[in-house]
Amino acid sequence: MIGKLQALAPYYRLLARKIALAIVVVACIPYALTFGLFYSSYNDSTQAQVLGSLRGVVETHKRDIDEFLADRLSDLAAMAGLLGVEELQRPESLRRAFNALQDAHGAFVDLGLIDARGRHLAYAGPYRLMEANYSQSPWFQEVLAKGTFISDVFLGFRGVPHFVVALKLPHEGGPYLLRATIDSARFASLVEKVRLGQSGEAFIVNRQGLYQTQGRERRHILAPSGLALPEAFEGVRVWETTAGGREVVLAQAWLKDGDWLLVCQQDTSDAFEPLYRARRLVLAWGLAAMALLVGTTVLLTRGLVGRIAAADHDKELLNEQIIQAGKLASLGELAAGVAHEINNPLAIMVEEAGWMQDLMQSDAGVLAQSSHFQEYQRAIEQIQTHGRRCKEITVKLLGFARSTFSPLQPTQLNELAREVAGLVERPARYANVNLTLDLDPELPQIMASPTELQQVLMNLVNNAMDAMEEQGGSLFIRTRQEEKGGVLLEVADTGPGIPEAVLSRIFDPFFTTKPVGKGTGLGLSICYGIVHKLGGRLQVQSAPQQGATFRVHLPARPLAQSKPESLKAAA
């Protein structure tokens, strides 16, 4: 039985694995789908959020820069309107105006009033530019044409990058121009102050793709950027791309009516850092939940399969018992049939031999002459003796298979045990067997057939005595109370034990280990049949050199009493 279970162990392991796999797959598919869906939508929305907030930052920044440039033009226009061209021509007035502007925000480097021929009429600033002639400068022509102008960054007379804002002032003596140089450093700081994480930067390139500000990387102003400039568009464009071998998020916006392109960029890893962090967390949670699921499944499955194995084991035991009972029943029928058929001829043989004996007794006088007289007598006695032996066997066989004729009555096993002990006391002493009764004084009576139970007990005790015949030993007869009013009868010996190969067959009819002629091999199968009929169980436990213990478990009463009415009527 144990070996069988061990042999089945791989099967149960495989079963556990299959069930666990099925549960995990079934549970994980919806989980993974849900998780994936959640994950991707979370990803998308967070990404959109990151890009959206970048767009917001850049839009604000674009507005700030545009406003800064527009404000500088309005500064000039306000000043011109306030003072008038005549006043501005006076160097003192221009200087005062310049100083006032510087006091206000310090965005200007210098200020000059220029006539239509490109010559300075007045100049306020740190450089000696009174003699400069701007008539050939591109911005000069632009201002005359458009009225206002903000230049790209250029080197100018001083060879220093800067840009100018200029305003045309109409006047009857030909137009005048008010020109101011913007503090490049201040402008650059305005452009670059955009807050974009660790790696964010902002710079401006002009229509030719030349840098107008240095940006974070301290590029050379007016160096070509190599950027592919987009067509003109409104607002801000944001997208992810690769720039300078790095993954970046790029935002672009046209400034100054499409003259300058504001470029803001941030490393993708930096821009999406919060997203990545959240993603790692979510993934960790997801994996932890998955691990929990798998772990729980494996544990539950193991428990489940354990129960299945136990149930299988029970079923196997039950099957064995049913098979054993069936085997006994069919063998019993066969045995009874044979015994019954043999009975009559046997009776005739014995009676005919008896008849011969009768005749020999009356003819003794004549027959005594014969030298074979003694032999005749001996042979006839042998026929009778062995005929009777045959009869005993058939009686046993019939007893083994008989239909129930044993009225149930309240039976006290302790009494039976004492009776049997009394019967075997003397032979036990001769066989050097120490007999011990260990009886439960509280043992309840059970409904059973005392004669049959006596037969069972006698049989078990005789077997135990036979087992210890050679070496002696100890024999225990125990009774114990069991649940629901049942009782346990135990017969244990310290004999040589029952070999494993024999153990599974000891209840089989005609199976015996005793020498030919000494045992019929029916004792234990009769016991088995009786105990079974009484609704009980007969179990054996033994190992070589460990003795043998037979346990008879009997219920308070058999479940299905066979024909109690007819028996009562008969009694």
């Binding site: 009776a347 009356s362 019939l398 007819s566 009527a569």
Partner: protein, 129 residues
């Protein structure tokens, strides 16, 4: 005192004959019947003190025969002979008025003892007449 008269009823001829010879030898008046019907006929013709009746016979079985005998010859003692498998019905037979039942194969001594017991006499020691 008249010898005890016995009717042996059994479908097994060999058994009938063996028993017949041995009982006659022990001073009984013995007749034999191979079936229940024949036994009834013979009893109608001439009553016996005791009937040894086999339980298991073709056609009319022991129990039916017993009922018929008890109906027609209530004074006749009936000893049922039975196999183990039919002990139940033998016990029923006791309820129906049989004197005793014996489990087959029974030997001469047992049967003889019951025959004497049924007619209220002490066994004649089992010795030969």
């Amino acid at each position: 005192m008249d010898a005890v008269s016995v009717l042996l009823v059994d479908d097994e001829q060999g058994f009938l004959e063996a028993m017949h010879k041995r009982l006659v030898r022990r001073g009984l008046l013995v007749r034999m019947a191979g079936s229940g019907a024949m036994a009834l006929e013979m009893l109608d013709e001439h009553e016996s003190d005791v009937v040894s009746l086999d339980q298991k016979m073709p056609e009319m079985d022991g129990l039916q025969t017993l009922i018929a005998i008890k109906a027609r010859h209530p004074r006749v003692k009936v000893i049922m002979l039975t196999g183990h498998a039919t002990v139940d019905s033998a016990v029923s037979g006791m309820a129906l008025g049989a004197f005793e039942y014996l489990v087959k194969p029974c030997d001469l001594e047992t049967l003889l003892a019951q025959i004497h017991a049924s007619v209220g006499r002490r066994e004649a020691g089992g010795g030969l007449a």
